[in-house]
Point group: C2
Chain length 630, copies 2
Amino acid sequence: MPELNKALLEKASKENIELVSARYEKQQPQCLWGLNGTCCKNCFQGPCRIIPGKAEKGICGAGADLIVARNFLRSVAAGTTGHTDHAKEIALALLEIAEGRTHDYGIADAAKLKNLAGKLGIKTSKPAKKIAKEVALEALGDFRRQQGLFLKPEGKYLNWLRIHATKERIEKWKKLNILPVNADAETSHALNQTTMGCDADPADIMIDALRVALADGYSGLAMASDLQDVVFGSPRITKSTCNLGVLDEGKVNIIVHGHVPLLGIKVVEFARKLEAQAKKAGARGINVVGMCCSGHEALERQGIPVAGHMLQQELAIVTGAADAIAVDMQCIFPALQDVAQCYHTKLITTMDFVKIPGAKHIPFTVHSANKSAKKIVMEAIEAYKKRDPAKVFIPKEKNELYAGFGVESLINALAKVNAANPLKPLVDALKSGDIYGIAAIAGCRNLKVKGNFHEELTKILLKNNVLVIGTGCWAHAAAQAGLMNEGSVKYAGAKLRNVLKAIGNSNGLSTLPACLHFGSCVDNSRISALLEMVSEKTKIPIYKLPIAGSAPEYATEKALAIGTFFLALGITLHVNPIPEVTGSKLISKILTQDLEKITGARVLLAETPEKAAGAMLQAIRQKRQELDWR
Amino acid sequence: MPELNKALLEKASKENIELVSARYEKQQPQCLWGLNGTCCKNCFQGPCRIIPGKAEKGICGAGADLIVARNFLRSVAAGTTGHTDHAKEIALALLEIAEGRTHDYGIADAAKLKNLAGKLGIKTSKPAKKIAKEVALEALGDFRRQQGLFLKPEGKYLNWLRIHATKERIEKWKKLNILPVNADAETSHALNQTTMGCDADPADIMIDALRVALADGYSGLAMASDLQDVVFGSPRITKSTCNLGVLDEGKVNIIVHGHVPLLGIKVVEFARKLEAQAKKAGARGINVVGMCCSGHEALERQGIPVAGHMLQQELAIVTGAADAIAVDMQCIFPALQDVAQCYHTKLITTMDFVKIPGAKHIPFTVHSANKSAKKIVMEAIEAYKKRDPAKVFIPKEKNELYAGFGVESLINALAKVNAANPLKPLVDALKSGDIYGIAAIAGCRNLKVKGNFHEELTKILLKNNVLVIGTGCWAHAAAQAGLMNEGSVKYAGAKLRNVLKAIGNSNGLSTLPACLHFGSCVDNSRISALLEMVSEKTKIPIYKLPIAGSAPEYATEKALAIGTFFLALGITLHVNPIPEVTGSKLISKILTQDLEKITGARVLLAETPEKAAGAMLQAIRQKRQELDWR
């Protein structure tokens, strides 16, 4: 089990509070059909499950390969909607801002807006709001483009794919007939395709999962990051603190949790504005900290501390010092309210489609943002008054971290080394082997995993001079393990350490941290954007570059969508736990072998950090050997 | 088990061919968690299952209520995409026709087109193709309307809902905040809503299932039926034959199977054109028959015979006389190819996203329809040459049926009774009790059901003077049981019989059949349209009218979507098998009790035809008692 927080686990145990780890234990043993992917619930003649030797086929005749493939596609589609809904939300917010229907938000990064507009073919010689409107409409176009079963309009596909993907990939995806046309239509269609009596070709379904994943990568991840940068500002390299010790006993503690920065950014703003109210209530002030990806979003833009990853969300309440938790969507354990009700903590839901029975619901939209944020902060102050000091225990664990990396901030940092050609130092280091390869690590924490997979894997890669960049719960784990502060370079191999120090020195730091915090889960688009940039610069397709990915503790459907997107991009990807495909030899083979002939990438399986690092290093080594840098 | 065909089952058994019933037996016992709805596979920390007393919560903290609700919504969403994809396909076909990009199809019912245009607010004083273009764009608008998590554009919702739903319902749905805005966005969003850590409010999720079901009912079912009527012609009351005996030993037999009439209609056309080729091959001609809903679509418009329902699809091959089966999408057992390869039968898939390994794939789009249909018929003729006479056994079962009922054809028939006020005879009969109530029966056949539920339930209702109208596999079952020919009125109670005879006589028939074939599954929209018309006419909301529905053998996710749509409409609905919600007392109570206070309808559970009829009659009786006809 990954490390959560020993002292708080003990406190919870003493206080008789059931946490995720206990629920996990009670769920053991988990259903083998669920785990190997051969359970089908796609019709009510079923459920069916494949029992080799006894029941090789479901009632309709679907075998293991088909059932596994259908389940895979449905999971990718579900995960994709998490990101495409998110991106759509921000695109609509931008439209509301541009058309003056809300003044609670503005345009924070006009340069990024112009840059996007330019790529989209929009003239930029007009006021920012007019540009913003056109950009928003192009974004929303990715949810409105006409598409149908027999109609794949020639040459028409997602705008956000067009402006980001490399030419090489677009050609490849065109040949595979997987260029997505309309993000919502792709995910909806995946449901039809996988319903009883539709597609019966497992290989076909897996290829179509790539199409859905491209919708995830571009009109989900990339669109969300891009437009959030426009509205809230692009990330800047910033120093902050992490882990549950960031809660402050003397202050009103508000935790923002979820994924969409519309909420968190406003809570931070109003917390500052309402300090006096908090002081009136006897506190030293207000301390807003982040949880999960909402945390990263506010961290990379406003530098707020991050309290923890998805498996620590309940523990934040167990401190007895969390006065309010304001949530938007995704990765919010329904159990939060069960835990919150044992304390004074106010759990506040904000989105109409994400409610938790027992929690306080304060509707939060772009139109009511200021008003709602004020209400949320006031709720926290009220709750603070009811805090029971006897129940408070804030653990000492707290660490420094650098965050805010991404294409823009990294290029800025590299420009201090080579102003004329900022990517050159990075590419040169890759060529020379000073950076042996790049590892992109993403995704959740998962109780199925033994020990601290994220941390151990990262350390081995660093030692082998692999530049590690990553997002999401990995970033929480790495930061908590001290892998993102200045001292962390001790974990890097000598060659990598020199590179990090050189770039750091040019930027007034003793060094860059050993691994780079690339942001939230949607910010996996910052990873793909960087790799796309390196690919365009070197004219070498991503799949030939010394790159490997890992999702060593993935847990959500969203993570599966991101992983599949990485595979479509050409990033060979380690995943753990073993995906729910082992019931099908065909699908297992497609993912771990055949896919390499299709997209240039394949899945690596390994259940220990050592083996995972070994497989990733081997993949990188092979790429280096076969590589002609030109 | 419902009756399939004893002789063919024996033949299959002798020939060592595994059929659906054997696969069903091998799947016993089915997973109890799947059956009661408390299995959750929505993240990879799981799968989880609720074990009362041991594991009351999933790992994230989701309890039985939440897991059941999420599974319910996902199934409704998946089912909905089956119909919305279908409708979109036809809307796009209409656009291609209107803009002259295909000449393989035309506009068969210009009057219906004008009628739709009028409802949509489109001027009708222009050439049909110009009207068609605008109608098609309004239809496609239901998949393109801007929508978002915080943006429910005031007063903007599905065009197809606007032109069909009663004012009373629209007001009701507005109050419930469930007017759907964009069909694809609703189904995609349902996936996000049900992913780990999003909505944790089971009751909320059930209400949102109603919204998705409204997208199903209007921009799925109704749009598909409407636009198919425009392109292929509206159904006319027609006499034909049914059951597996419709196959003709002396002819080339082609079975059209699936759901979208684009294919079937063309196969019928080219079968007629290529008769000479078939004769050259030694056959007496070509016999095109339908299977499942593709059958109904061609039957109600072209009068072709229908061979059977979803559980008989394999048996059609076992006759040894099926030369080709051309399929489009949905309810096509993957097992078909396993059976086909034991005979000379050519299984032909036609849609890019529905392939079956081993089957011949002939891509069929509106642009290639004539060419592809010709190829398909020629494939059948070639296959006929390889037919093994020793393997041929066509059962004697064959029955006459009347089909082609729907709003237009029924109003036409009623107009012969009262030209000035065609609905009056129907409403008067309802008022007087000559028609005690209307029962709408829909949906699949299901091996879980004991005996012939469809047939037995129908007979009891008829005997009690309930007018039975229905669709889909029910229609196959009822027709095969002799409930749709002129002789069938013997099953009707005396009062109902007189009504049926009177209407029949006015139309040159001895009688209408005892129950009315309202078409395919998407033609459930014809049922809702009729009830909406009666409701508008009488100014009595549907939920107060003496109406009850039943899906006595539902099996597909599509059926669940249709059933939920009926519940949103206000039609109290018997369902069987018992839905996968029994693991949650809350959700069971919502469906069987609370929903009545919300939409006016509720779910009736009954596992025998007698009990089901009893519950439906009781519901009708209560409505009659409470009804003020004005």
